[in-house]
């Protein structure tokens, strides 16, 4: 598939299948189209040519409600985190459960465990604008995985956290992968990729000159 905007082609000749349970890193220089590629992967953008299929369904043939149902199976960590600023961070993390009508007691217990996991237990009642960049990213990751989605797409999830926290977040994603979840992480952090490759079988993809390439060999 290819994707362009305003007459300019941003991605071309892309062909990729994310198999269930696979682990992918996506790298590339700033502005190469990593975020655009992730958005195409969860149906927020539609390709200008070719097809994108979410769980076997062509995104062009999907209704808005079909997209919503598909996104419940895809946890997304946005680069800008995208929170509802008027809600405490715990409510933001619970949002995917709430919109799908699954906010029962068991899920609330999961929330406490998850908030502890990402180191935000004491910040659960804080509002997003009062959180640091790292805290926001951790909260975004917690929100992305609370539904135990089939796929997690994370755009620079460790960009604003320290090394120790980035390792914990990576460990969480690896554990999800061991549970059979499909993971794709867009990152600049080569150290993170190297650490991950010691723990999990990951494919490294690189976007360069609008094309997607396999880049595992040089890492």
């Amino acid at each position: 598939m290819a994707y362009g905007y305003g007459g300019a082609e941003l991605l071309s000749d892309i062909s990729l299948k994310l198999s269930p349970g696979s682990f992918h890193f996506l790298t590339g220089p700033s502005g190469s189209g990593k975020t655009t590629f992730l958005k195409l992967c969860y149906g927020a953008l539609t390709p200008t040519s070719g097809d994108v299929r979410l769980f076997g369904q062509d995104v062009r043939a999907m209704t808005r409600d079909d997209h919503a149902l598909a996104r419940r199976k895809i946890g997304v960590v946005h680069q800008d985190c995208a929170f509802l600023d008027h809600l405490p961070i715990a409510d933001n993390v619970l949002l995917p459960l709430n919109v799908s009508g699954r906010d029962d007691l068991e899920d609330v217990a999961n929330l406490k465990e998850l908030m502890g996991w990402v180191g935000l237990s004491k910040r659960a009642s804080a509002y997003p604008p009062t959180l640091s960049g790292g805290e926001r990213q951790r909260a975004a990751l917690a929100r992305a995985v609370i539904m135990s989605p089939d796929v997690v797409l994370a755009d620079e999830p460790t960009g604003n956290v320290d090394w120790e926290m980035s390792q914990r977040l990576l460990q969480l994603l690896i554990e999800l992968n061991h549970m059979g979840k499909t993971i794709m992480i867009a990152t600049h952090d080569m150290n993170l990729i190297r650490t991950a490759k010691n723990k999990v079988q990951a494919r490294v993809l690189r976007i360069a000159n609008r094309k997607l390439q396999l880049a595992g060999a040089d890492l």
Partner: protein, 301 residues
């Protein structure tokens, strides 16, 4: 029916978390409540006008429908004989309950507004009037006219039809005007709530984007807005209705001297009509916001 009950229950019980996903907005909330309140206030008056004109139409119709007048114009010497003959005819006419000749004083009182109280009525060729009260079934006006023509040549029967029709028609038009006003008020309410809902939806485009990112379907997003606007309209309309009803209550009671204006208000079970205004405003808000939300969500991709 069960779907309706479910929607109604959802409106009042709601979903605490779903309600909170839309940030509390300032001016759209106040605009909706104010518009609903003002429109409910006006609806109370339109309703009062409509019901009062309905009552007036009925009253005028009933009053004039069950009474008629016989006017006897005869030379001086024959007036008493023709009056007596007319009364005899009327006494034997089925459908006539009471028939009596007006006294000179009563006739003078009728003419007093035009000629003053000192009118020498005996010296003037004023026709003799006979007041007829009909039974519920009424009489056969054509048959009576034919009999009178034969037995009392100077008698003219006025069954008030020519007065009654235009009065009833005017009151009926006034009532129709009241109902048209209510419909226009309802349409204006829907328009204002739609504008407020559109403004709220546009202001919350970012919130909608986040909700979609985490898998919210259009129905979930729309419900959050619809419930909020419906409850605001209900509250505003309830306040407007209470104030409007109190204002109608303070209007002077119906008096003969005041004519139509002093009779503007509710009577008996008519006081229950305003109770319907807040729920109707809520229904209007529910559908107006629902339509606005569906349209806005289809445009926000």
């Amino acid at each position: 029916m069960s779907q309706f009950i479910r929607v109604l229950k959802g409106l009042f019980t709601g979903d605490a978390q779903a309600d909170r996903v839309v940030p509390p907005s300032g001016f759209t909330a106040r605009l909706t409540s104010f518009a609903a309140g003002a429109m409910a206030f006006l609806t109370v008056f339109a309703l009062a006008l409509s019901l009062a004109s309905g009552r007036l139409a009925t009253k005028w119709g009933d009053d004039l429908a069950h009474s008629s007048t016989l006017r006897i114009s005869a030379p001086e010497g024959q007036m008493a004989d023709q009056t007596a003959a007319a009364l005899r005819v009327l006494e034997t006419t089925p459908g006539v309950a009471v028939a009596r000749a007006l006294t000179s004083d009563e006739q003078r009182a009728l003419l007093a507004p035009w000629f003053g109280p000192d009118l020498p009525i005996d010296a003037l060729p004023v026709p003799q009037l006979i007041e007829i009260q009909e039974t519920e079934a009424g009489y056969d006006a054509t048959g009576l006219r034919l009999r009178l023509q034969a037995e009392v040549p100077g008698a003219v029967l006025d069954d008030h039809t020519r007065w009654r029709k235009p009065l009833e028609q005017a009151a009926g038009r006034l009532r129709l005007l009241g109902w048209v006003s209510i419909l226009l008020i309802g349409a204006t309410t829907a328009t204002m709530i739609t504008l407020a809902a559109n403004a709220a939806l546009a202001a919350n485009a970012q919130v909608i984007a986040v909700l979609r990112l985490v898998g919210a379907q259009d129905g979930y997003i729309a419900r959050a807005f619809v419930r909020r606007f419906t409850l605001r309209a209900l509250t505003g309309a309830a306040i407007g209705t209470i104030v409007g009803t109190a204002a109608v209550l303070l209007l002077p009671a119906a008096q003969d001297a005041g004519g139509f204006l002093t009779g503007l208000g509710f009577q008996g079970f008519g006081w229950l009509w305003p109770v319907l205004i807040p729920p109707l405003a809520a229904v209007v808000a529910y559908f107006a916001t629902g339509a606005a939300a569906r349209r806005a969500l289809s445009e926000l991709t």
